[in-house]
């Protein structure tokens, strides 16, 4: 029974690992690539590698396996890009988007945003999340919450001012 729970080759275990790590891995890859599509591709490849090696990878090591594989895939792509660039003799220097400083700044900024959203008053947060995460139109939000469109816009407006102040201040 316990063996089964730790067997990555088991569909359910694999899915559980996906739900546990996919989001973090996507963040990690996004900071590195700055490209949502590429991050998504690498994410899928990394999990498929995990599946291919499910019999040999230790359950407790699955996280580090995923991140290492993802990182290597990313580096391979960079390397390939460099070769292609040299081949085409374009001397455009690749921007140092993957430099540690950049990754950290980007990460810090995102954390600030997350904190600013979390600190919003409940009513503004509700409108903000419905709009940005659930992708609802202001009109639809007004219907859901039983308030006027104007009131929705007001909450959104105030939320943005609040977030700007918060982020500017740190």
């Amino acid at each position: 029974m316990i063996r089964d729970l730790n067997n990555i080759c088991n569909d359910l275990v694999f899915e559980k690992l996906f739900h546990k790590y996919a989001k973090d891995l996507r963040r990690f890859l996004f900071f590195k690539t700055k490209d949502v599509d590429l991050a998504e591709d690498i994410l899928q490849d990394a999990f498929i590698k995990l599946w291919d090696n499910c019999a040999t990878v230790n359950f407790d090591k699955s996280k580090s396996f995923l991140f290492t594989v993802a990182n290597n895939l990313f580096l391979n792509i960079k390397k390939h890009e460099k070769v292609v660039a040299e081949h085409q003799k374009t001397t455009i220097k690749s921007s140092n988007q993957e430099s540690p400083e950049f990754v950290m700044l980007e990460k810090e900024f995102l954390e600030k945003i997350e904190k600013a959203i979390a600190d919003l008053p409940e009513k503004q947060k509700e409108v903000f999340l419905l709009s940005r995460i659930e992708k609802k139109k202001y009109r639809e939000i007004a219907e859901i919450l039983g308030i006027s469109v104007k009131a929705v816009e007001k909450r959104m407006h105030l939320a943005l001012i609040k977030m700007k102040d918060k982020i500017g201040n740190i």
Partner: protein
């Protein structure tokens, strides 16, 4: 009048974030410092949104890719020798063929599905009884291929990518889409990105979930699907309001059958699906639901009455 104007710009940030107010208009409403802060904030919010997107579609895609791999990698261990000889022959033959005509051909047999990788890493998954050919030498500058039958494309970003069929041409930059074409049936479904379809001097732009098709001499129709990938890649053929004639064609291609329709009205409309795994279930799910009697004869001949 003044009041009205005021009202319009009262909650301008909400409108700006939705794109109803342009950046340069916002610039006039706030200080330069605030303007820059708001731009930065919007950037951050966009990233936040992207990273909060649900991951369900990724999981489905991973599962599909795994399922697909399983199917294609059975019997790996045995016949190594025969395989390597076959591979050598194939390469030699391929080289000869390359020099002879500069073209690469791929075809699938009855019930077979095949995924091929194009020179730029784009993928094309072909359904049964389909064909793709292209010129690998000019691929870098000119991504064009010819298609008969049905295929699902996952195109790497890059220059224009064009699929020619006898019915119409499809061109994209980097996206996922499905093309199905037989005599009198032409259908393109877009799953990701943007797809441009040229058909009979008309142009259609498809966005994700959108589809255009033309059946017989009818008007082209546009409709929506909710799938993230074509059903046939997971072992099922799906139809939405399609004349029976084309469902029968698909069955024949999938199972290598000859279906004799006799007196049955082939213009009747079918909505539903059939599996690729089991002939009896597939026949039942098409003909029983249409209340058509069928008889299995020898040599894969099915007679309807």
């Amino acid at each position: 009048m003044e009041n009205k104007n005021n009202n319009k710009e009262e909650y301008f940030l909400a409108k700006w974030l939705e794109g109803e107010i342009a950046d340069q208009d916002l610039k006039l409403l706030v200080s330069t410092n605030d303007y820059l802060s708001f731009l930065e904030l919007r950037n951050g919010i966009n990233n936040y949104e992207l990273l909060e997107q649900p991951l369900n579609t990724s999981l489905t895609k991973i599962k599909n890719r795994i399922a697909f791999k399983k199917k294609n990698t059975t019997n790996k261990t045995s016949y190594r020798w025969t395989l390597s000889i076959a591979a050598t022959l194939a390469i030699l033959f391929g080289l000869f063929f390359l020099m002879a005509s500069n073209e690469i051909n791929h075809t699938t047999a009855f019930g077979e599905q095949k995924t091929i990788e194009l020179p730029d890493g784009s993928l094309a998954t072909m359904n049964s009884k389909s064909g793709i050919n292209f010129n690998p030498n000019s691929w870098v500058t000119n991504r064009v291929l010819n298609l008969t039958g049905e295929a699902y494309f996952k195109v790497k970003k890059g220059s224009q990518f064009t699929v020619n069929t006898t019915s119409g041409n499809i061109s994209v930059l980097g996206t996922e889409f499905n093309v199905k074409t037989t005599d009198n049936f032409f259908e393109v479904v877009c799953f990701e990105g943007k797809v441009k379809v040229n058909y009979d001097h008309k142009e259609f732009i498809l966005t994700p979930g959108k589809s255009v098709r033309k059946i017989n001499k009818n008007q082209e129709e546009e409709y929506f699907t909710t799938n993230n990938f074509p059903a046939w890649t997971t072992g099922e053929s799906k139809f939405m309001s399609v004349p029976l004639e084309f469902v029968i064609q698909s069955l024949e291609k999938q199972y290598n059958l000859e279906i004799q329709s006799n007196e049955v009205d082939l213009t009747r409309i079918y909505t539903g699906s059939f599996t690729h795994q089991d002939l009896d279930i597939a026949l039942a799910s098409v003909f029983k639901t249409m209340n058509i009697k069928y008889l299995k004869k020898e040599n894969g001949i099915i007679s309807l009455e």
